[in-house]
Symmetry: C2
Subunit: 282 residues, 2 copies
Amino acid sequence: MKSPKIITVTSLSELRNARATLPEPIGLVPTMGFLHAGHLSLVRQARQDCASVVVSIFVNPVQFGPAEDLSKYPRDLQRDLQLLTSAGVDLVWTPTPREMYPDGYQTWISLDELVKPLEGAMRPGHFRGVATVVGKLFNCVQPQKAYFGQKDAQQAAVIRRMTNDLNFPVEIIICPIVRADDGLAMSSRNVYLNAEERQAATVLYRSLNAARAAFDKGERDANTLRRIMTDTINSEPLASLQYVSCANYDTLIELEAITGKSLLSMAVFLGKTRLIDNMVLG
Amino acid sequence: MKSPKIITVTSLSELRNARATLPEPIGLVPTMGFLHAGHLSLVRQARQDCASVVVSIFVNPVQFGPAEDLSKYPRDLQRDLQLLTSAGVDLVWTPTPREMYPDGYQTWISLDELVKPLEGAMRPGHFRGVATVVGKLFNCVQPQKAYFGQKDAQQAAVIRRMTNDLNFPVEIIICPIVRADDGLAMSSRNVYLNAEERQAATVLYRSLNAARAAFDKGERDANTLRRIMTDTINSEPLASLQYVSCANYDTLIELEAITGKSLLSMAVFLGKTRLIDNMVLG
């Protein structure tokens, strides 16, 4: 019988002490909190693979741009802890911004190419903040495995690349997107949607499915697949397209024709809420 | 009795296998080879502190500028291995540039402020290369302690800062400068000096001693200390001063007056050979 005991720590020294008591292998699930079924699927996978599961909850300030939603990013620690206790997590770490980025902090992990297109083009500095905090989390927790969602496809590519480039002794496991019954990908930001926008938001998944249907019938021209996604998004009056992409799965370079593993992805505004979604082909 | 058996590995997978057999704590001494008494003092300290000593030998291409001496940087692996065997090192790792920086490599560790003055101003990108390779070496070897020389004072400050900022679970130990009998700091680049330059090169240490003598008599004005060093260097016809500095020990910001721990440092050309030296005050 699994004990429902969960350890919650805040400071780095508490974390290191608690971490030393946990049997290995250790699986880390880094989150920004406000957990949903997507996060819980990562926890479930970690629980299955590892002797111990550590979840970090940290709304990482350095990955938010000045015009982004850091201060109003949704938070509900009590609910998060209940969910993680039920999920059989061993240790929850909720560091403070001050301990993660003390006065005089000045070190960054950055990537040259992978951060340029897609989300990186729309959110300058975002992936530098992501890569830096993930490197810090790895060094603090020292997990054997770490779990991320395919929902943030470019983030997953950046983390795979930086883990490999910097030789972090951590296995990166990317878990599939979890969707609501109507297909909307789980996201903490879905809470911002009003009822009409929430309904319209299914257009992201519908557009991905339309492109995949064409692919399944043999379509390999990337422009055609991008146009199918664009036309579907534009058919929804409440949706405003920011970008669509049909790119190489690892390099994220835009394709002319699909030959190998590829990524369809997009960013769409529903009102003021920016949503992303993606699908892997091939 | 210490066995003289030494393990030498090249590939990362060999390293990980060999490292797993070594008792902890593990001390890492990162070097670019062509070892001298300075390196051996680091090895001796590591041998004293740690159950196992790992030395890496890697002339790190990404810390050399396009106009610098990468291709002619001195190398003598056979001699290095003999010295390290005699010094009781357990494991020597000689990675290849290709395995450290494979095709598509694109991840960098960089610092904002500490890399701007002094060596950083003269060698753009140098400390990005240093911080990146040190992060990689830490992740590959996973030592408990790592040893660096005070000779490269700014490098030591950069590594202390980046280790702390990124939460690497490694204790950084900075060992004192080792000098020849006439005061010249040990450096692999000393081999470039001809007999006359070698003799003139003692001017670096003489200028540091002149400034320290003034400090010991109560001088606290940083401009005066800088002028003493400058005048001493300029009195040596074969020496050409690049910079002198009197800065805060941790931040490397130039001082007006010495109040706490401070660093006197300089870069001087003897012919085509660029030498650096420094001394800590307070």
